[in-house]
Each structure stands twice: as C-alpha cells, then as structure tokens.
Amino acid sequence: MEPLKMIEKDIQPMDVHPMNDILRMDRLPHIWCPGCGIGTAVTAFAAGLDKANIDLKKTCIVSGIGCTGRVAGYIKLDSFHTTHGRGIAFATGIKVANPDLKVIVFSGDGDLISIGGNHFIHAARRNVNMLVICINNFIYAMTGGQVAPTTPLAAYATTSPFGCVEPPFNIPYLADSSGAVYVARWTALHVRRLTNSIAEALNKPGFSVIEVISPCAMYYSRINRLGDGLDMMKFYHDNSEIRHGEDTKNLDIGFQTKIIVGKFVDRERPTYMDSYNKWLSGTKKAEK
C-alpha cells in the first residue's frame, strides 16, 4: 500500500475537534497571518494545559494588546483581554484576590517587556504565582512593524528605517535577575518541548516565564527580507541550540544569530501569597 493511503487508513473520523474543550471554536478562524508562530504556540499551550492535569474551571487567562493579546479570546477558559501592557497587573489582582485560581498571562514582547516592563519585573520580584508566556517576534506586529524592545541591533523596522540602534532586552536574563522561579525559552518550532515546558511551569508555584521565539512573516521577515514563515522555521531549525541550565547572561539574540533555547532557571522561592499569609497570621497572633 502507498504510504499516504496507510496514514489515511489509520485516521479515524472524529465528531469534534480534539481541542474543542480548550479552544473557542465559535471564534475561529483566528486573526493571525499565514506563517505566524502564535497559532503554534497556542496549540502547544492547549496541549500543555491538557498535559498539566489542572482544574480548567479554576484556571484563567489574561492578555494585553497586540497580535498575541488576542490569544485570550480563543482559549475557552475565563479569559480577559485587557489594556496594553497591563496583563500582569490585572492578573496580579485576580491572583491575590482569589489565590485558588491558576492565572496565565499570554502576551507579546512589546506588551510585556516594553509598556508592561515595570509590571513584569515587579511581579517577578514579588514572585506572584502565575505563568507568563511571552511570544517574542522581535517587532510590534499589530500596528504594522515598529521597532520593539526585543528588535535585534541593526534589524529594520518602520520606526527604525536605518536599522535598530538600541540593544534589545534579553528576556530570560531580565526575568531571572528580577526573581522568576522558572525561566525557559523555545521557538515556535520546538512544539513538543514547549508543550512539556508549559505543562511543567503550570505546576510550578511562583512566577514562571516562558519565552517563545516566533516568526512574524508579515512584518519582521518582510522588512528584513528573511523570507516567509517556513523560511524562519528552517532558520530556527538550523540555528537553535538546546542548552539547559545555561547562564541567562549568555542568552542575547542578535540579528539572525544563534538562538539558545532550553530551561534555564528552575528554583524555589516563597511566593507572594505564602509570604502574605505568613505576615497575616503574624499580625493575628500579635493581636492576640
């Protein structure tokens, strides 16, 4: 039998999409362009949620603004699409007011690291129990390709028409030095590893950050003449190197240079609610 026929024979028809429980099917198709990596990351996230074996009823997702900001709208959890950069602040409110909930912030690099940078470092410092998934596509895509705090030096963007002159943030290093307990980086190509990482981080108490390097075929690749989404995936395939436990200082990304991926930080620190409850019981005692 021909190989294709063999595969077809194995496929059993299904009544519903396997992700029906996790994605809002009534909202599909989504808004993302062909070649974009966000959809892949969402798939990995959905698989990760499944794998993490957590109570989905008690899980909620918060997004900011931007292409990745739209993720919350496609996930069938209690989901919030908030203002630009304030996803983490909004999520902090949810988590602190009801610590029983599992909170995920799913947003982009511009949203989380630029306008929301302050909330990012402070939530990491406090160690608020949440998972932050940051899609890094090196550019502001929703508004049409402006320079981002992650745009590599010399890369073009519409507001850096002569090449970016600002050095970019190294997101894992920023998260690590601010106090995050779990830091990993994958590309949109590493779907299986990303899924595992998400599942692992979901069960990790504390502030966890997973950076997902993702192609933006419409703006970043086009302005910089890097080909389409597939070309970017090929680039990730040829140029990413897994180095678990690598010092986060060494994770800078240059323009079309090697991308180091892996799990870099996995440590224990008391979470915000642990410390808060300790303080609270302390004051109660003092009053007795």
Partner: protein, 417 residues
C-alpha cells in the same frame, strides 16, 4: 520667522493625513518626537522617523506613552520643538504628564488621532470622543489649546499652526484629528519654505543673573532659556514662584496669598479671542446653525445641502480651534437663531458646551454617532428640519435618534449571524 528650507519637502503629494502631519511637524521645525506605536496614529511616527535625518531631527520610540510624553517635555526644555503622537488609550496614559506640561510651561504638541472608544474600543475606526478629555483629562486647573483638522492638507497646515501656538503661549497644544482624517488620502500641497510662517521660541535675552523662568511678559507668558546655557534652572511640577522654587515653604501661616497657578489658566482665557479660529457660512439669515468640527464638518456640509434643498435657512459654523471654546460667538448666535444642531462622533461632548453658551436662547440638538463610522448626512438634515419646526423651548439637549440607532435597537439587527 520663515521655515528652514531643509525642513520643508516642497511639492504636491497624494498622501494620507498621518503622513501629512509628519511632514508638517518637520516643516514647523520639530526636532524631536518621542512616540509609541498605536493604531491609527502610527503612520505619522513612521513618516517622521523616515524623514527626520534630513533635518538632523530625532525620532525615538519610547517604552510606553508615559515615557513618550515625558521625553518630549525634557526635549522641549533642552531648547527644541517637540511633539508626541498617539491615540485614545495612549492619550489617557499621558494625562498626568499633560498637567506637568501645563505646570512647567513646556511648549509641545500632542497629535491625537482619535479612534472609537472607550478603552480599546475600535482601534482601526474613527471617533471624536476624546474632545472633553483634551480639556479636562488631567487633574488640577489648566487650560490647553486644541485644534480639529478635517483633511490631510489641514493636518499639514495645522500641525505647523499647533507648533506656533505652543511656542507663543507655552502650553500643550493638541491636534485632535480622527482616524478618518488620519487615514484619508488626498492632495496635499507643501508650500516653499519662505511661505511657511514659524513662531520662534521666546528666548530670554537679558542678563543671566536677572533671569526668572516663570516671570511673565505682558501677555502672561514667560520667556524661556535652554537647559545647558548656564542658568542653573530649577523646574518643578510643584506650585512654584517666578524663580521656579516650590511655593509651599514661603506661604506664611494665617496670611492669604494667591497661588501663581492662576496665570496658567488666565494666559489662555485672556488671549482666547486671539487663539480662536472659526469658519462661518450662511449666517446672515440662518434659522438653524450647525456646529461641527473635524470630519463631522465635512459630513455636515452634505447634511446642510440637503436641508437647504428643502428651503431651510441653515448656517454652518466650524470650530477649527475647539479649545478654548468660542463662548462669545455661540452666545451671540444663540440670540439670533432658533436652534443649534451639533453632529459629533460621540454621544455628547462639545454639544454640552454649546448648550452652556446658548444660555437658554436656542434649542440644542445633538446628532450622535458612537464611532467606527461617520454620520449619515440624512440624519443631520432631518435633525435640522426638526430643529426648525420645534416651537417649544426645550430645557435639555435633544438627542436625535439616528438611523443607525433605530437599525440596531429597533430594526432587528442581529449580531453573530
């Protein structure tokens, strides 16, 4: 003073309003823009980033809108003309710093390409619902100047004018355009540099030791110097005296003393007649006057045409500067006409100012539109017809029920078909 030829890309173009604003800013002598990408204003920032090097100007994309406007004020005190570019949500974030701008009297321009609100609203479509925010959005008492252009050509011309006003009165000047104007492509004529009038900064020329950064001239506006000229400036957002020192400690207990913040509002209020720019047409025998601004003005023209076709005498008043508001003009018209019709792309903002200034002498009809589109001229025409036939004096703003409202709430409009 005339514009510097290096800043002016003289020629005739087919460009959209955002791009025209970028060209206008450079022609006005702008040397610094701090901005943050936000739909639908981004093209203006992109344009400036592209053309800035020809004049040695700088575009910096800051980490957020709070950073943008703060950088702009800093640049302003370093002696250059500055601007920031944003839309509704970014504009809301700038509110605190607008107060600082008013307080430290830094001349700068804010270009706000309004979109449908509130909150994230409709980012890619139009709105005019930040008009009151422009006037009242920051805490404390201050006055601003706001201009509402209605075409790409005007976005070029009035960006220059905005810079001139900000230098003249040393206050934040807002260009309150909207998505429709920002994304509309039309012919734009950029004149030669010698035809562009530029207001230079009011620099202080006296002896160094005598300089007081907040000592006003006769028109209540103080003179500026640059940071780095050796004046050892002290500029603060606290209430300060003419030296710039916080006044708190100098207030004696029990003694009544006026705060110098009064001048911040007076310098605009007392110069309002010089600042206000209007166009009026068909006022002589008008029974109803349509008051509009920005893109709504262009829609209103058609509405008025329809009404005039029915034999109604309609006047057309366009507010080019919306703030300071032309109190006197409206009050004067109110005593002559039956009613005002105010079409605006919001659910009632400037209409309340019209109501206030008409002092009960004329009825006021609002033709609302929630945003994400412009009015249907038929609605405006019908509102005019209603206004001219209404015999009673009505003690409130009459909100005209538009076709859109009827369609959505009564016409069986179904979402999620």
């Amino acid at each position: 003073m005339k514009a510097n030829p290096r800043d002016v890309n003289t020629g005739t173009y087919y460009m959209d309003g955002d791009v025209a604003a970028g060209y206008g800013a450079l022609a006005a002598g702008c040397r610094f823009i701090g901005g943050y990408p936000i739909t639908p204003s981004t093209e203006a920032a992109e344009t400036f980033a592209r053309i800035a090097p020809q004049a040695g100007a700088v575009f910096i994309q800051m980490e957020d809108e709070l950073g943008s406007i703060a950088s702009v004020m800093g640049a302003s005190w370093s002696g250059v003309k500055t601007m920031t570019i944003t839309s509704g949500p970014g504009y809301s974030l700038m509110m605190e710093a607008i107060g600082l701008g008013a307080m430290i009297e830094a001349p700068f321009v804010i270009l706000n390409i309004q979109r449908g609100g509130p909150s994230t609203g409709v980012p890619t479509k139009t709105g005019q619902a930040d008009m009151m925010q422009a006037r009242w959005g920051s805490h404390g008492d201050y006055e601003v100047i706001a201009i509402a252009p209605d075409s790409p050509q005007e976005l070029f011309d009035y960006t220059i004018k905005a810079f001139n006003l900000s230098e003249k009165y040393r206050c934040p000047v807002m260009i309150m355009a909207d998505e429709c104007v920002g994304h509309m492509s039309e012919k734009v004529v950029v004149p030669p540099a010698e035809e562009i009038e530029i207001e230079p900064r009011r620099f202080y020329n006296g002896p160094k030791e005598k300089y007081l950064p907040f000592k006003p001239d006769k028109d209540l506006v103080p003179k500026m110097v640059k940071a780095g000229d050796g004046y050892n400036l002290y500029i603060t957002g606290l209430v300060h005296d003419e030296k710039g020192y916080p006044i708190k400690n100098q207030l004696e207990k029990g003694k009544r003393q006026k705060l110098p913040t009064r001048r911040l509002v007076d310098k605009i209020r007392l110069n309002a007649d010089k600042i206000i720019e209007l166009t009026e047409e068909g006022m002589d025998d008008a029974e109803v006057v349509v008051v509009s601004y920005g893109i709504s003005y262009r829609v209103a023209i058609r509405g008025i045409e329809i009404a005039r076709g029915k034999g109604i005498k309609v006047g057309n008043l366009r507010l080019i500067t919306v703030w300071p508001f032309p109190d006197k003009k409206i009050s004067e018209l109110a005593s002559k006409v039956k009613a005002f019709v105010v079409p605006e792309i919001n659910y009632g903002q400037i209409v309340f100012e019209v109501e206030r200034c008409s002092h009960g002498q004329a009825n006021v009809v609002l033709v609302p539109h929630g945003g994400a589109g412009v009015h249907n001229p038929e609605d405006i025409a019908e509102a005019i017809e209603y206004a001219v036939n209404e015999k009673k004096k009505i003690r409130k703003v009459v909100e005209w029920k538009t076709r859109l409202e009827k369609f959505v709430f009564e016409g069986g409009y179904k979402l999620n078909k």
